[in-house]
Amino acid sequence: MANKDVLLSVKDLTVEYTSEGEVIHAVNHVSFELEKGKTIGLVGETGAGKTSIARAILRILPEPPARVPGGEIEFEGKDLLKVSEADMQKIRGKEISMIFQDPMTALNPIMRVGEQIAEVVKLHEHCSRQESIEKAKKMLEMVGIPGERFYEYPHQFSGGMKQRVVIAMALACSPTLLLADEPTTALDVTIQAQVLDMINDLKRKLNTSMIMITHDLGIVAEVCDTVAVIYAGEIMEYGTREQIFHDPRYPYTIGLFGSLPDLNSDVERLSPIEGLPPNPADLPRGCAFHPRCPYAGEECRKEHIELKDIGGGHLCRCCRLNEIAAGKAKEV
């Protein structure tokens, strides 16, 4: 581990929300590492706690009601949960920046689009106003928007263009870590591909590491090096892209692949995962997935299950791997 070039290491991160007296466990003891220039994908259903992880890293959770009762977020040798707010402000936007999920609401409606990019440039690069405007125009062009649209307002832009602006804003100061929170969910499919290509390109150019938050396995396949499957605020399975895609072990991961349409096989119906995600204020005992798991047994309901290395850094939080493997073998 020591010889790897680790940029970010999250240990035991926990996030809770308090709402009307109930404590909602959004993120539970999440740990992962990210190397320089690599991309990790956080995959899971809506509400699984992916966004909370990203916001906790950037310390922009709404507090209250959110709270980070424990964990460590080590970034370039500093624990981000311990640095002062003033130091954090120097990191935000410069070293770590974020692309938000909904481009429609992520831009200030009464501020010129270019101004919103120039603002972050001026803040972190301590340059003159004129320089920051030049840089902002260059960033706009880099994401495929003519520089003269600097002076327009968000309402004059389409959704895809707004998302490009958000991306330009996030990349303006060449961050070392980019948090992309479902950057394409709100976009049309055709634009999704463009935006994704663009992020990939820019990332390569600037050698940025990235945390890609998504529920779309297609995106994961395209951009991620490692994958963490998140369910009910926990990492259920963790491995390289190849490990997860070629050899998914956790029943939820298997279910995710099962609910994708496969163009090569002639199946009439998809097999979705039955049931709904658990209420995060009242998580089930034992394995959080057991109520929906087709392989669940007695031990899954009893106690909390630990992540286990099942070979080559492939981690899985399941105690019935043998049964699952046997079941699979029978099917074939």
Partner: protein, 296 residues
């Protein structure tokens, strides 16, 4: 190629709404300030209803000996220029003041909701004509309009209610219209129309329940505001006239002697303030309960 949670969006509109109502009440019950407001309001309404039987003195009984009597154990709030017990008059006066506020708001709301749902739902020409007329009414400052109408119709409770409610109609219409215009665009309205719901049914069971929330809040606050306006009218000699005990009228009677006998004015004013304060506390609570994202 995406995995989304299935089932969330299939909750029926109706059951969702009832659930919403339950949630609102639940949140309201937890709001201490609103509950204090509500409790005091209930006590005041009970006092107003029972006032003929529970006032310590007859509100109209004069007594030469007690003229301008200062507050004492016999007369907690003192007596007015004719020796009438002020506490009794305030208790009895709650009837007129509360009734005025409540009725004017109800009249304004009923008319406003009818008009608002009409123009909101039909839009087009009807909308244009009604809204332009409302523009005209709203171009006159509300207090001024109430004063003029009140002068034209003469005093008395019924006329005062009319004078106060006309000024309140445009706001209700506007609120509801705006709210309906947003709701109208929702897909479940289109769905209801597609399955051949009658227009009446679409309006009453689909559009109104989903757009009425801002109106309910504004009604609660409106009662308080109307009570203030009613008192102002009585104060300048319009609206409810003496000898009917009404808080504004009592203030008006007492104002000439305020330097010598301030208690004539202090207590009726406090009564008005208490009622309006409680209604606003309740209104605030309702608003927070209906729009929980504003809290916390």
């Amino acid at each position: 190629m995406s995995v989304t949670a299935v089932g969330k969006d299939h909750v029926g509109v109706r059951s969702k709404r009832q659930g919403q109502f339950g949630q609102v009440m639940h949140r309201l019950r937890k709001n201490k300030v609103a509950m204090i407001g509500l409790s005091i309001m209930i006590v005041l309404i009970v006092i107003a209803i029972l006032s003929p039987w529970i006032t310590p003195y007859n509100y109209a009984k004069t007594s030469k000996a007690d003229r301008y009597a200062l507050p004492s154990w016999q007369h907690l709030f003192g007596c007015d220029g004719m020796g009438r017990d002020i506490l009794s008059r305030i208790m009895y006066g709650a009837r007129a003041s509360l009734f005025l506020g409540l009725m004017s708001t109800i009249v304004a709301t009923v008319v406003g909701v009818l008009l608002g749902s009409l123009v909101g739902y039909y839009g087009g020409k009807v909308d244009n004509i009604v809204m332009r007329i409302l523009d005209i009414i709203q171009a006159i400052p509300g207090m001024l309009l109430s004063i003029a109408i009140s002068a034209a119709l003469g005093s008395g409770i019924g006329n005062t209610i009319l004078a106060l409610s006309i000024g309140g109609i445009p706001m209700t219409v506007r609120l509801l219209r705006g709210s309906i215009l947003t709701v109208r665009k929702q897909e479940y309205i289109e769905a209801a129309e597609k399955i051949n719901c009658s227009k009446w049914r679409v309006i009453t069971s689909h559009i109104l329940p989903n757009s009425i929330a801002p109106v309910i809040v504004s009604v609660t606050m409106g009662i308080g505001n109307t009570i203030l306006q009613a008192a102002s009218l009585s104060y300048i000699g319009l609206g409810v006239q003496p000898p009917t005990p009404e808080w504004g009228a009592m203030l008006s009677e007492g104002k000439s002697m305020i330097t010598k006998y301030p208690h004539l004015c202090i207590f009726p004013g406090l009564a008005i303030m208490l009622v309006v304060l409680c209604l606003n506390m309740l209104g605030d609570g309702l608003r927070d309960a209906m729009d929980p994202k504003l809290k916390n």
